[in-house]
């Protein structure tokens, strides 16, 4: 019926309810700014993904190796007991030289070494499983115990264990930064919608005078905020692909394969939630005051 009477070029834009207000230059600017902020959040979490993959299996199962020279073979039993007595050490496994040599040969894919000859040259090795690698004095205790019996700790492994610790802290910082950026984005969207609200104050006032319910007046702005945030989220996600293309080859040398798809839904819904939050802030105090003389 509507198509019979509405001229072709006329677009009925009835205000209120589920009808979106028209997009203007303010909205486009807000979309760009929020897109940049969401892109920064995306890059941050891609960085976390890279670091997580780089540390790799260490994240789940951290082992520290302690070496003891074969000339100090008498200390083996005592060192094993002392290492096992450290509270944060879950277990201590003595690895035979033959086993270590076999593992090294596999790792070096032959390397032209004689396994028996190699085994004679290798130190006695203890593999320590840890209960809590974040414990403050754990590595100092292991180091002191090993030193006391003439042994040495694999410091590269200690460094990696501490990288894991740093990674956990970086993860917390990433959440914190994301939260701060989310608040900033919500305020940017809120400010933009506030300008729209001011520009349309007469319309809002009139709708209220005609008996419109509050949800009817506010829904278009909340929808606009959500669309703005979601649009910025998808745009930010699309802009992550050039980042992957730029650094993908370099990262693959570190056994890191970035998964951009995993960020699509968080950026889309995160953007929409932030947009809705901004709209709620903007529309929280839309007062059509008449109570003045």
């Amino acid at each position: 019926m509507a198509t019979e009477v509405v001229p072709d070029r006329v677009n009925t834009r009835l205000p209120g309810g589920f009808n979106l207000p028209p997009f203007g230059v303010h909205q486009i600017l807000a979309l760009i700014i929020v897109c940049i902020a969401l892109w920064a959040v995306g890059v941050l979490w891609l960085g976390m993904q890279t670091a997580g993959q780089w540390v790799g299996s260490w994240q789940d199962d951290i082992h520290i190796h302690v070496y003891l020279d074969t000339q100090r073979e008498d200390n083996v039993e005592q060192l094993e007991q002392e290492l096992a007595a450290i509270p944060q050490v879950a277990s201590v496994k003595l690895i035979s030289q033959q086993e270590a040599a076999r593992w090294m040969q596999e790792w070096l894919t032959g390397g032209g070494l004689q396994q028996d000859e190699l085994a004679k040259r290798l130190p006695i090795t203890f593999e320590l499983s840890l209960k809590d690698e974040r414990s403050q004095f754990l590595f100092a205790d292991i180091r002191d115990t090993a030193k006391h019996f003439g042994g040495k700790v694999n410091e590269d492994e200690v460094n990696l264990a501490q990288v894991h610790d740093l990674l956990t802290q970086a993860g917390l910082l990433a959440w914190f930064a994301s939260l701060i950026l989310a608040i900033a984005m919500a305020l940017i969207i809120s400010n933009t919608l506030r300008m729209t609200l001011l520009a349309r104050a007469d319309e809002i006032h009139l709708m209220r005078l005609l008996g419109a319910k509050e949800w009817f007046v506010r829904t278009p702005f909340i929808l606009e905020g959500m669309v703005l945030g979601a649009g910025a989220g998808v745009s930010a996600w699309l802009l992550l692909w050039p980042v992957k293309l730029a650094v993908g080859d370099w990262l693959s040398t570190m056994q890191v394969d970035l998964n951009i798809w995993i960020l699509l839904l968080p950026l889309l819904f995160g953007g929409a939630i932030v947009g809705a939050l901004g709209a709620l802030i903007a529309t929280a105090h839309v007062v059509s005051s008449e109570a003045s003389a």
């Binding site: 019926m1 006329v10 205000p15 007469d202 005078l209 008996g211 419109a212 003045s292 003389a293």
Partner: protein, 219 residues
């Protein structure tokens, strides 16, 4: 309304001890000098401001105690015409007139014939898709009347609807309001144009400094 009083937060007393009954179907002129309380009374009748004391029953609702939802109900049953029209200039005549129905949840398909019909009534059916700025002052006021009557309200409140119009256009506006009144709509109109009362008689309520100064029926 009984012993109605309105004091604004600024301290100004707009109405003081007003007692008045307006029955369904009446045509009432509110007259008086500027600041007499005409606009304040109209505002109270659609819930724009609440009485400070006294009793005001509008369409069987106590306006002093009414909830926001009740106020919304009243507004949906009331057509309001403002002196400055309060038309939305960024929207077409159709969108302006359709707004009260849109607020009440009408679908676009139903809106168009209804809006066309009320615009036909005020002689503006060919301006459906025009913007208000393309219309003359009289035409804009007719759009405002069309908007006020589009939802078939029980009451029309008009705050100096002829204030900015020439005599002939003002008479035409009054013709429309009188016609609506004959169809059963209560019309309460604040005005300074006393000359209109001769050609369009009705009950005249005179206010002075927020109080009732006179009540003349069939003026």
């Amino acid at each position: 309304m009984q012993q109605l009083m309105l004091r604004y937060p600024t301290g100004k007393t707009a109405l003081s001890g007003l007692t008045l009954d307006i029955l369904q179907g009446q045509f009432v002129y509110l007259v008086g000098e500027s600041g007499a309380g005409k606009s304040s009374l109209l505002k109270m009748l659609y819930g724009g401001v609440r009485p400070s004391s006294g009793l005001l029953m509008a369409q069987q609702i106590d306006m002093r105690q009414a909830s926001e939802s009740r106020i919304r109900d009243i507004r949906r049953r009331t057509g309001i015409i403002f002196q400055d029209h309060k038309l939305l200039f960024a929207r077409t005549v159709f969108e302006n007139v359709a707004l009260p129905l849109r607020v009440q949840g009408w679908k676009t398909e139903r809106l168009i014939p209804r809006v066309r019909k009320v615009l036909q009534y005020v002689g503006l059916e060919d301006r459906l898709w025009s913007y208000p700025e393309a219309l003359s002052g009289g035409e804009q006021q007719r759009v405002a009347i069309a908007r006020a009557m589009t939802a078939n309200p029980a009451v029309i409140l008009a705050d100096e609807p002829t204030g900015n119009l020439d005599v002939e256009t003002a008479r035409r506006v009054l013709d429309y309001l009188m016609d609506l009144n004959k169809q059963g709509t209560t019309v309460i109109m604040a005005t300074h144009d006393l000359h209109l009362l001769k050609s369009h008689p009705g009950r005249v309520v005179q206010l002075h400094a927020g109080s009732l100064a006179g009540d003349y029926s069939g003026y």
